[in-house]
């Protein structure tokens, strides 16, 4: 099993590039671990807050000798943040559906291999087939890297915000259709 704690010295040393590699490897399992909270909290906000807190807490983190200790800590932070937000919003924190589907606090999220070269090549090939406006919307979000609101990206492309969002949706669907032709069902793999 992949042990992401090999990145720990670099993270503790304050190297954001090393932290980025750690995030890249564990983002998906941590995100999927929040699925049961999707209707009651904004999981994207919870996940970003989780990563920022892990970065702050990492210098004080003490490994317990088992692999992926920092990922397990991140999973606990994410779950506690989600529950805390549920309580703040006065949704039902004891929703049995959510609790039943939640892993125990010390569960290691299943880490999946990242950087699959076949998937990367297939997505890149499919991206080249996108028509103009959807390709522009996808490129705008990729270039922004989550640092600018869609309204700014839309204005830069001289699109109304709803047109921009429709084009992005179209880009994702066209990519998904193209990937299926390559034998990849991204949505099913992430389900």
């Amino acid at each position: 099993m992949q042990d992401l704690d090999t990145h720990l010295p670099g993270i503790v040393g304050g190297d954001p590039d090393v932290f980025g590699r750690w995030v890249a490897a564990c983002e998906l399992p941590l995100r999927l671990g929040l699925r049961s909270f999707a209707a009651t909290v904004d999981t994207e906000a919870v996940l970003q807050e989780t990563f920022l807190r892990v970065w702050q807490l990492a210098p004080r983190f003490e490994p317990d000798g088992r692999p992926n200790g920092l990922v397990r800590l991140a999973a606990r932070i994410a779950r506690n943040l989600a529950i805390s937000e549920q309580r703040r919003l006065r949704t039902d924190p004891a929703d049995p559906t959510a609790l039943d589907q939640s892993p125990p606090d010390d569960a290691t999220p299943a880490l999946r291999p990242t950087g699959d070269p076949f998937l990367r090549r297939a997505i890149a090939d499919c991206r080249r087939e996108l028509p103009g406006k959807p390709a522009q919307a996808l490129a705008a979000r990729l270039d922004a890297g989550g640092a600018e609101p869609d309204e700014v990206l839309a204005a830069r492309l001289s699109m109304r915000i709803n047109t921009f969002l429709q084009n992005f949706t179209r880009a994702r669907r066209l990519l998904a259709d193209c990937l299926r032709r390559h034998g990849i069902d991204l949505e099913a793999e992430l389900a």
């Binding site: 954001p16 932290f19 980025g20 590699r21 995030v23 890249a24 983002e27 998906l28 995100r31 999927l32 929040l34 699925r35 999707a38 209707a39 009651t40 909290v41 904004d42 999981t43 994207e44 906000a45 919870v46 996940l47 970003q48 807050e49 990563f51 920022l52 970065w55 990242t114 950087g115 699959d116 998937l119 990367r120 997505i123 890149a124 991206r127 996808l138 979000r141 990729l142 922004a144 890297g145 989550g146 640092a147 600018e148 609101p149 869609d150 915000i161 709803n162 969002l165 429709q166 992005f168 949706t169 994702r172 990519l175 998904a176 991204l186 949505e187 992430l190 389900a191």
Partner: protein, 76 residues
């Protein structure tokens, strides 16, 4: 099931940009508040796909979530 009315909200909530509040905490997406439970679940599923596509197209394998987080901690 997304409708023409909810589709832009779902796509907006599935993006990675999030503002921060006065304490520095990451805020929920405005569009997320306007969705019902089913719409929020669709936004979650769309975000999973978006992040996978972004990471696959990024030379360092970073999604927009990862890029947003790294940009914030580099500014701090």
């Amino acid at each position: 099931m997304a409708t023409p009315e909810t589709e832009p909200l779902i796509e907006a909530a599935a993006g990675a940009f999030r503002e921060r509040d006065a304490r520095g905490a990451v805020r929920f997406a405005p569009a997320w508040w306007d969705l019902d439970d089913a719409g929020r679940r669709e936004a979650f599923a769309a975000a999973c796909v978006n992040r996978a596509i972004e990471a696959a197209l990024d030379p360092e394998g970073l999604s927009s979530t990862a890029r947003a987080v790294l940009a914030r901690l580099r500014r701090a």
